[in-house]
């Protein structure tokens, strides 16, 4: 009479039949919360954080401008001075007015004066180029600006 019978050591397997469901759930989450990358960003983008952020309600009104040093693989071609990228190309400051007009024509007539330009600027950029951009935008009458940023601890 042995009270402590040896347990039948049956093979213990973790049921994995629910694994695909879990993964699909993750997949759908990412499909819903993210957007397709529209263009390859060719400039460095280490965007400085801020605390007083406002969300842009109407995404269709926004046009993006990326400003920063060309990424390392483009340095040979474009140098290390900060450049402005819109859509997939680099532009000079005097081409901004034309870009703004093109973007404005994509919008409905009633919404044209509500166009927002979102500036995504690398933290190491100097204010000189930003000022040039702002003067051009002012001339192009695109006066609603948004300094794109993310919530984070501000380095002081």
């Amino acid at each position: 009479m042995s009270k402590f019978k040896k347990k039948a050591s049956s093979k213990q397997e973790i049921p994995t039949s629910a694994l695909p469901d879990i993964i699909f759930m993750l997949l759908f989450f990412f499909m819903v919360t993210t957007v397709m990358r529209e263009n390859t960003i060719k400039v460095e983008q280490r965007i400085p954080p801020a605390s007083q952020l406002k969300k842009i309600e109407r995404k269709s009104l926004v046009s993006y401008m990326y400003v920063g040093k060309p990424q390392s693989y483009l340095v040979d071609q474009f140098g290390t001075e900060p450049k402005i990228q819109v859509n997939d190309v680099f532009i000079e400051t005097d081409e901004i007015i034309q870009f703004v007009e093109e973007e404005r024509n994509k919008l409905d007539e009633v919404e044209r004066d509500q166009m927002i330009i979102s500036l995504k600027v690398d933290k190491e950029t100097k204010m000189g180029i930003i000022t040039d951009i702002k003067l051009e935008l002012r001339d192009a009458n695109a006066r609603l600006l948004n300094y794109s940023s993310r919530l984070g601890d501000v380095v002081k």
Partner: protein
């Protein structure tokens, strides 16, 4: 004759997880999380359309940033952390100190950056000034800064409160044309 044991014919689904993983990785790589947040700013109209506005010297809160990212606030050197409190004090002066603003509605914050100032510093200063405004607005409504930032614009009550606070403390940030003196 023995009946064939049919058993439950099962589709092997162990590779289903792999397929789903593959899709997941594909989406992770090709997409970005939408981050449409930022600090809004309205540029002044073209200079030839602009009317000359005479402002009293004392109603302007002057912030200068030089090319070494050093600050000069109201002609005094200052650390970045101190701007918020100084701006709140300036906004809420309401005529007590004759050298400071008459009322929040008259107050203007002028930020002047050098061409050599880093964008990071500029954005930090802008953020601090915006924080000063938001803090004053939150105090005006008697709520915390966090609650103020989370006001829901879709909700009519919240919108009304927000508009009232904004009317009391209109955000007036003027950006002077930058210098390129360096220094």
């Amino acid at each position: 004759m023995r009946k064939k044991d049919r058993g439950g014919a099962e589709v092997n689904s162990s590779s289903m997880a792999d397929i789903a993983f593959l899709l997941l990785v594909f989406f992770l790589v090709t997409t970005t999380i939408a981050s449409d947040k930022g600090i809004p700013m309205v540029l002044p109209p073209k200079s030839d359309q602009q009317d000359e506005v005479k402002l009293k010297e004392k109603n302007i809160f002057k912030v200068l940033i030089n090319s070494k990212d050093q600050l000069l606030v109201e002609n005094e050197p200052m650390e970045t952390e101190a701007i918020k409190d100084a701006a709140i004090k300036f906004l809420n002066n309401r005529g007590r100190d004759p050298q400071s603003s008459d009322s929040p509605k008259d107050a203007v914050v002028s930020i002047k950056a050098d061409r050599g100032t880093s964008y990071e510093k500029y954005l930090t200063v802008l953020d601090e000034v915006t924080a000063a405004y938001n803090q004053s607005r939150a105090d005006y409504l008697g709520i915390s800064l966090e609650d103020f930032l989370n006001l829901d614009m879709e909700n009519p009550d919240h919108k009304r409160a927000y508009d009232a606070a904004r009317a009391e403390y209109p955000l007036q940030i003027s950006e002077a044309e930058p210098t390129d003196i360096g220094g």
